[in-house]
């Protein structure tokens, strides 16, 4: 399926804090991203206000589900109940693609609710690629795989992080969701040039960018996704646009969520970068 997905423009996350305002004001963004798990129901049932809002938003905007719990790198089997609910969500909103992370989130049935790093090895490439292929086949939707931020690397790496991401996406024939902030955070935390990372990603695989903020703790960057996009990330975004061309972009602000207007303003800035950087 590669990374060739529809170009949607610039979007923002659909946050609970903004439900009422989004429904009333039709904000000037091109699309929305949702955290899949927030709309996949609970053990008791599936519905309530979140689903009502989702249905209304999906009538007017493309909506893309972005998951955090597929745990593609785990040694646990893929969770069939989870896939069933994700499939139901896809049937409900018919997204242009779905996405999740190149990581593991739990083992032996336990979920750590974190995106944990994998060893960059051939064995891990095979393992993850096979699971992604099964997910794509099951959901019949293009799948984009996102790079995570990390603070530790596991011993025994046979590949760089970007070689690992590129090889997994090639082997699984899936797309890549490039989180520009995560590339920058990792470049500082692990000592490589972020441009080398982006140059190592195949151009035809990238289907989406994330833009977000981080916190600098005396030189150790913590991926908090709780601030405006910093200048260094905007610069790297410009570099990415020059390399990859126009790519659907999402402003990802997960914590200390600002006003809807502030989020839309970030989206407008991203759109300006796109119009200035990318030749028509």
């Amino acid at each position: 399926m590669s990374g060739k997905v529809t170009f949607l423009g610039v979007g923002i996350g659909l946050r609970r804090e903004h439900y009422a305002q989004v429904l009333e004001s039709n904000p000037r963004v091109d699309w929305f991203e949702i955290v899949s798990e927030n709309f996949m129901g609970t053990q008791r049932g599936w519905g309530g206000r979140p689903l009502h809002v989702l249905d209304e938003v999906a009538r007017k905007y493309p909506v893309v589900p972005h998951g955090v719990s597929l745990s593609l790198g785990s040694s646990d089997p893929l969770d069939e109940a989870y896939l069933e609910r994700l499939e139901a969500l896809c049937r409900r909103i018919d997204p242009p693609w779905i996405s999740d992370h190149l990581c593991w989130t739990g083992v032996d049935g336990e979920n750590f609710h974190d995106l944990l790093p994998l060893p960059y090895t051939e064995e891990a490439v095979r393992h993850v690629a096979e699971r992604i292929a099964r997910v794509q086949h099951r959901l019949q939707k293009p799948f984009l795989l996102e790079n995570i931020s990390s603070y530790l690397c596991l011993k025994g790496a046979e590949l760089t992080e970007w070689e690992f991401l590129a090889e997994v996406s090639r082997r699984a024939d899936c797309g890549i969701l490039l989180d520009i902030n995560n590339v920058y955070v990792n470049s500082r935390n692990h000592g490589f040039r972020p441009e080398d990372y982006l140059n190592g990603i195949p151009m035809d695989r990238v289907g989406q960018f994330h833009l977000a903020g981080h916190y600098d703790r005396d030189g150790l960057l913590i991926d908090t996704h709780d601030t405006a996009v910093p200048d260094a990330v905007w610069s790297l975004y410009r570099f990415a646009l020059e390399r990859f061309g126009p790519i659907s972009t999402l402003i990802e602000w997960d914590a200390s969520v600002p006003t809807l207007d502030a989020l839309v303003e970030e989206a407008v800035t991203a759109r300006e970068y796109q119009s200035v950087t990318v030749a028509p």
């Binding site: 049932g45 519905g47 309530g48 609710h113 603070y151 530790l152 790496a157 913590i222």
Partner: protein
């Protein structure tokens, strides 16, 4: 890695780097912070009673005994009421049950505007089943914890026979105190018993009171219909 998240484990698995312990702590502290945030969001009244320090200590112990096995953090905490009950935390366990019911009510079933309904006449109850709104969750309680529904309340709940119904009124979840026997009756309706089945063992003198209760519940939107 799992052992590191629990505050133990060997560092041999990691590539050499500076500030290793600090980097490990990012993951370990983040793990408990996420769980803590989820429980605080879902149990704000319980959190208010504990206070920050005692809450963190409780959360740490809770997470050791009931590590998350759900995909969605919104669902983490289902075991908290039972955990508090086992530790003989008195009315806190009932308060936690009330708050968890609010979480379930919020996510329950399709959202429909509540429309006032009129209860069927008494003579039709033999053949009538009640369809309750999926967000209606009745509770039998051993403490008067509905007095703590208001987040600013400092009431000290009393032991006794109490009841409550948690329900969603369009966008907001609310809580209504009811007689324990009414909570029990509603629970039987939730289980699918017919009006005849739930009222057969009631004393005849209860009939007018039950009819009034049904009219109230219909006005509150708890009753979606009759079949």
């Amino acid at each position: 890695m799992r052992e590191h998240l629990r505050g133990r484990g060997s560092n041999d698995m990691f590539s050499p780097c500076d500030r290793l312990e600090e980097r490990i702590a990012v993951y370990r502290d983040g793990y408990y912070e996420r769980l803590s945030e989820a429980i605080r969001d879902n149990f704000p009244r319980v959190y208010h009673v504990f206070g920050d320090v005692a809450f963190r200590e409780m959360l740490f112990e809770f997470a050791q005994h009931f590590p998350s096995r759900v995909r969605n953090l919104n669902e983490f905490g289902a075991c908290l009421p039972g955990f508090l009950a086992e530790r003989e935390r008195g009315w806190l366990a009932d308060l936690a049950r009330l708050e968890w019911a609010a979480v379930e009510s919020f996510f329950a079933g399709p959202l429909e505007k509540n429309t006032p309904m009129v209860a069927p006449p008494l003579e039709k109850w033999e053949t009538t089943r009640v369809v309750l709104d999926p967000s209606v969750i009745p509770l039998e309680l051993d403490w008067s914890v509905t007095e703590r529904w208001d987040l600013n309340s400092a009431a000290e709940p009393r032991p006794g026979d109490f009841g409550a119904v948690v329900y969603r009124a369009w966008e907001k979840v609310d809580c209504q105190t009811v007689a324990r026997c009414d909570a029990r009756l509603l629970l039987r309706l939730v289980e699918g018993q017919s009006l005849a089945e739930v009222t057969d063992d009631l004393p005849p003198e209860e009939a007018p009171r039950i009819q009034t209760s049904f009219a109230t519940w219909a006005k509150l939107g708890w009753i979606r219909g009759f079949e």
